[in-house]
């Protein structure tokens, strides 16, 4: 697989580490055990296009949101995580 890092350009798979589905969002402080359980354990595990967290640890150390087809491994989009670099987010 080749991933086009938005900061570094196209790089080989070995530079990246996979975390998993980027859809689940970490519940805010005070969330119930059920909500956090859902976030930590349950997955759609889609056969087809899905958005995932990847880490360019062997490169610029940016976390990326990658939309990839799990049937073909084709990658349709790569975006930096909200807090990659010095991006100003929220407050």
């Amino acid at each position: 697989m080749r991933i086009v890092c938005p900061f570094c350009g196209e790089r080989e798979l070995g530079e990246f580490t996979y975390l998993g589905d980027a859809k689940p969002v970490r519940p805010a402080a005070g969330a119930s055990e059920d909500d956090v359980f859902d976030y930590v354990y349950l997955r759609d595990n889609i056969a087809g296009e899905t958005t995932e967290h990847w880490y360019h640890g062997g490169g610029c150390r940016a976390w990326l949101k990658i939309t990839r087809n799990t049937l073909t491994h084709e990658i349709s989009s790569v975006e930096p995580a909200a807090g990659a670099g010095a991006a100003k987010v929220g407050a």
Partner: protein, 417 residues
């Protein structure tokens, strides 16, 4: 025809014209007591145990392709019961005991070969972890031996002892572990189950579930029409999430590619099954002579049944670190199977929140060796509506309760298990 050297000789005289189909090529009936989705080893074993142990013979096994076309036909054929955590230990030993009588049970030679499985260790910490595991096995009546360096050298003089990056210090050996001929296991269960009246229906893909007013599953919709069922059991590791989704369920499972490799056939070189403790590499040699080996999963969710190159290299690096004598042996074929990677690395065998739907999933790497045990405990669950005692910890709600069975201790990250 009952199999024996005599029947074979008789058949030879008649030019093998009289052999029957190994299993009946059945067409779907309107209704079965139990419908099992998935014509792999687990599904067929479940059907056979339902028929032979629990007297339930009005059973259908539905396979979307040809039987054994999933992970049953894509694994590295290893059998062992060297697990360390309560839940796994007893279950895999139950499975091992069933392996030991499989050929007589099925009247089919599945080439169960108890040539020994050794996990090599390369550090004191690893030795201590194996000691803990081996003692768990012994306490549960399972054979286990902790070998020191001298014993390993004696057993496998061909390993790299002299200039290794991570020298071998010893190993945890289970002599009763070994290999079996994976396809033969599928055909053997199909043969025996079919003989007892089980319908094996190939090229029949499940496209949905029939539910009644209360949401109870009453059957399945398939590419060969609706089929009614008293109970429906899922044994579709690799596709569990997709099939469960048809019933509105989300599972603590991800699908990952695990590659396997086979070398050209060579004369006997490796006597047993070995796992390298300092890298991703395990190997055995098939009766045909090929080195059958593998390593880590590719590391990202995938339903593409093919492997990528970095892992292929990683596995061969492990092989060359452990035994540089295989450098000139050629890799013949590379393939990939889709693993049901659960959130704690252990399987799930349980009723689901959907009435009438039963789940057998999350096998990670353990699927093949679990085949007979999985068949028995899943049949028990389907027949009795309560878990078999050796599967009592494989409940779906264990994640919610915090009762994970995490042999590797890596937590809810399936690609690390």
């Amino acid at each position: 025809m009952r199999h024996s050297i005599f029947s074979l000789a008789r058949a030879a005289l008649s030019g093998h014209k009289n052999w029957q189909r190994t299993w009946r090529d059945a067409s779907p009936k309107d209704h079965y007591d139990v419908v099992i989705i998935g014509g792999g080893g687990h599904g067929l074993a479940t059907a056979w145990f339902l028929a032979s142990e629990y007297g339930i013979r009005n059973v259908a096994v539905l396979e979307k392709g040809w039987i054994g076309s999933g992970n049953a036909g894509r694994n590295t054929t290893i059998i062992r019961s060297n697990y360390g955590l309560p839940g796994n230990t007893g279950f895999y030993e139950l499975s091992m005991k069933l392996w030991e009588r499989m050929e007589q049970d099925l009247n089919y030679n599945t080439m169960v070969s108890q040539r020994g499985v050794i996990n090599l260790y390369h550090s004191d910490a690893q030795r201590d972890a194996y000691a803990r595991r081996g003692n768990t096995m012994r306490i549960n009546g399972i054979d286990a031996e902790l070998l020191d360096l001298a014993a390993v050298k004696k057993m496998m003089p061909f390993l790299n002892f002299d200039n290794a990056r991570f020298p071998v210090q010893g190993g945890l050996l289970q002599r009763r572990g070994g290999t079996a001929r994976h396809d033969a296991v599928v055909w053997g269960y199909a043969h025996a189950a079919s003989t007892l009246g089980v319908d094996i229906i190939q090229n029949c893909e499940v496209t949905g579930f029939s539910r009644d007013a209360n949401g109870k599953v009453t059957g399945v919709e398939t590419t060969r029409g609706k089929i009614g069922a008293g109970k429906v059991g899922m044994a579709v590791a690799g596709s569990s999430s997709r099939v469960a989704a048809m019933a509105g369920l989300r599972l603590p499972i991800e699908s990952h590619v695990l590659q396997a490799f086979v070398s050209e056939a060579i004369k006997p070189l490796i006597p047993n099954v070995m796992t390298f403790g300092a890298g991703h590499f395990y190997v055995s040699q098939s009766d045909k002579g090929g080195l059958v080996f593998g390593g880590d999963i590719d590391g990202y969710n995938s339903y593409a049944q093919r492997g990528n190159m970095p892992v292929m290299e990683d596995v061969c690096e492990g092989g060359m670190a452990l035994m540089p004598m295989i450098g000139r042996v050629r890799l013949l074929r590379q393939w990939g199977g889709i693993m049901d990677m659960s959130m704690d690395g252990s399987p799930i065998i349980d009723k689901t929140p959907v009435d009438g739907l039963y789940l057998n999933a999350g096998w990670c790497y353990g699927g093949f060796k679990a085949t007979p045990g999985s068949g028995l405990v899943f049949a028990h669950l389907l027949a009795r509506d309560e878990p078999h005692k050796e599967a009592a910890r494989f409940r779906l709600d264990r994640f919610r309760r915090g009762a994970m069975i995490d042999e590797k201790g890596v937590g809810a990250q399936p690609n690390l298990h």
